[in-house]
Amino acid sequence: MITLANVRKIFNQARPNEYTAVDGVSLQLEEHDVTVFKGPSGSGKTTLLSLVGCMARPTSGRIHLLGREITSLPERFLTEIRRKTFGFIFQQFHLIKGISVLDNVMLPAYPCGERLSVLKERALHLLDLFNVSQKAHTRVEWLSGGEAQRVAIARALINGPSIIIADEPTAHLDSMHSHELVEILRGLKNDRKTILIASHDPIIYDSDIVDKVVHLRDGKVDEGDTGPRTRGHLQLLKGR
């Protein structure tokens, strides 16, 4: 379970361009669920994901991850948690150009010091799973959009994370590939992964795999419109 209590993130604090990206969000997210954060751009979806994903620290408030308080941990531990618990799928895929698909997939695992043969096997298995194993040795810039997307997902899974975080995963995909992505996510959900997605694409948030949709506006949870998919486990823990 992931619990956010009155989480606030302010960028450029005490400077003229100060702005509040996340403003006092309290949420409880269940394990093995697919949660979609929906809202217009600038509503704080991405920032909220990065806070949950231990990529950034909230300015104030607390985040509990699987019973552990993560906001006060030093960077080293945060990285450790991030590496083991989270797999990230970015909006622009963010694959590293010029190196092979296989290298890209193994990249997050390199610093862990695993044997390369073991790592390679796992990476190839993942690529196989997503039907891109025949491209393992091609450079990433020669991939089609859909292939790049699947490689990015394989990379997110290399360290065997329990939580997948995807930031606007369909922003650069056509409808066909977007539907394909939903199917992949369904597979991951069946593997009992927790999935957090920021998206304003109806293909994602109207999909039947989604357990909960959280509406964000101006960095706040929009309570008036929690959507029909909210099956009652949304508990707002405001003011805790």
């Binding site: 950034a56 622009q92 997050p108 610093p111 010091g113 044997r115 390369l116």
Partner: protein, 378 residues
């Protein structure tokens, strides 16, 4: 431990893959680097070996040389000075030296002509250095003609040629008897070129030197220490040659390094952001950059230093030869004895590998401290 090694190797793998992307640029960089190390190492090896050898050989030079100068010019010294010098307390022996230069118009070369006291030669024969033999194409048994002071041609028979191993000191020497020397240069029997002194206690040398100047005001003593110091400062870094040779390369390299250091490209920054985003720590990014610096600099260093060794000690610094030769027609060919110590290699390592690696690591440090979430905003 095994984990640690695997981790280094994995990161190194990535570093190499990423260097391979810009194959030609990095190859060019490495090439310039090899050349720079090669030049630096060659200069260091060459001068160090030369200094060491000079230091050892010149330990056998006379302890003190007394030369006479008239009107600021070196002039022949009267043999009568020998007794005056012998009277100075502390002086154990005084010997005369007869030597000078002979310009050979046929070859355009300068020879050093000597009439050593301790070598027995008949008036018509000479011993020559390997360089003279090579320049004039004269060998054992041939006749070598010299034009004397009065225009007469004097023929000498080459009795032997000094061994080529000693070329560093003997290349341009022409040894002849005193009689021959005086016939050639009209040197009067009452004069010598200069005098050499032996003292009982080497620690009194400077005291004796001042006594010499006092007793014979028209002379100047040269101490062995001064000879040694002269050669100690041969190829001084302060002086131009080494810099002349290397400055071009250093400049080119500095520009490259500066370009690298100051201009972390947008692409590189983006990559560091991605690495941070997918779970690399700052220290791991820096480690990757460290390997990047090491891959280029350490491999170039090793290649450069190996080439330099071969260049200096196997080919007798052939690359420097045209530069060192200058105007000289008679150029000694000597094989240097490899005097190499750890400090030279360490100096080179410090001058080359360390700055480059730092220039790679430091600029990336700042980029590596970006928040991992920056990747989401890219």
């Amino acid at each position: 431990m095994e984990r640690w090694i695997e981790r280094q190797k994995n990161i190194l793998d990535f570093t190499l893959s990423s260097l391979f992307r810009r194959k030609w640029k990095n190859a060019a960089l490495a090439l310039v680097y090899v050349f720079l190390v090669f030049l630096l190492a060659s200069v260091i090896f060459f001068t160090h070996a030369l200094k060491q050898e000079a230091g050892i050989i010149l330990q056998n030079a006379p302890e003190m040389i007394v030369q006479r100068s008239i009107a600021g010019r070196q002039a022949p010294i009267p043999l009568s000075y020998i007794d005056k010098l012998k009277d100075i307390t502390g002086v154990s022996a005084v010997k005369k030296r007869l030597w000078g230069y002979y310009y050979d118009p046929t070859a355009g070369a300068n020879y050093t002509v000597m009439a050593p006291e301790d070598v027995q030669l008949d008036p018509r024969s000479i011993i020559i250095g390997e360089g003279v033999s090579r320049t004039r194409q004269v060998f054992k048994g041939s006749t070598m003609r010299f034009r004397a002071y009065d225009g007469k041609i004097i023929a000498f028979e080459v009795k032997s040629i000094m061994p080529s191993e000693s070329e560093l000191v003997s290349s341009d020497l022409v040894l002849m008897s005193e009689d021959g020397f005086r016939r050639l240069f009209d040197a009067s029997g009452e004069y010598a070129t200069d005098l050499t002194l032996q003292v009982k206690n080497p620690r009194e040398l400077s005291v004796i030197a001042s006594k010499v100047v006092h007793a014979l005001p028209d002379t100047r003593p040269i101490l062995r220490d001064e000879l040694l110091r002269t050669y100690e400062s041969v190829f001084d870094w302060r002086s131009g040659m080494a810099l002349f040779l290397v400055s071009g390369a250093i400049l080119a390299f500095l520009i490259l390094a500066w370009d690298k250091a100051s201009g972390m490209s947008h692409e590189e920054k983006r990559e560091i952001g991605i690495l941070k985003g997918i779970g690399w720590e700052t220290s791991e990014v820096v480690l990757m950059k460290f390997w990047e610096g090491m891959v280029v600099s350490l491999s170039a260093f090793l290649a450069g230093i190996i080439l330099a060794y071969i260049h200096v000690f196997f080919t007798s610094a052939a690359f420097f030869e045209p530069a060192l030769k200058g105007w000289a027609v008679l150029y000694p060919r000597f094989k240097l004895t490899p005097f190499i110590d750890a400090s030279q290699v360490a100096t080179l390592l410090f001058l080359t590998v360390v700055p480059y690696t730092l220039a790679t690591v430091i600029p990336s440090w700042r980029a590596a401290t970006v928040d991992p979430d920056s990747v989401m905003r890219m």
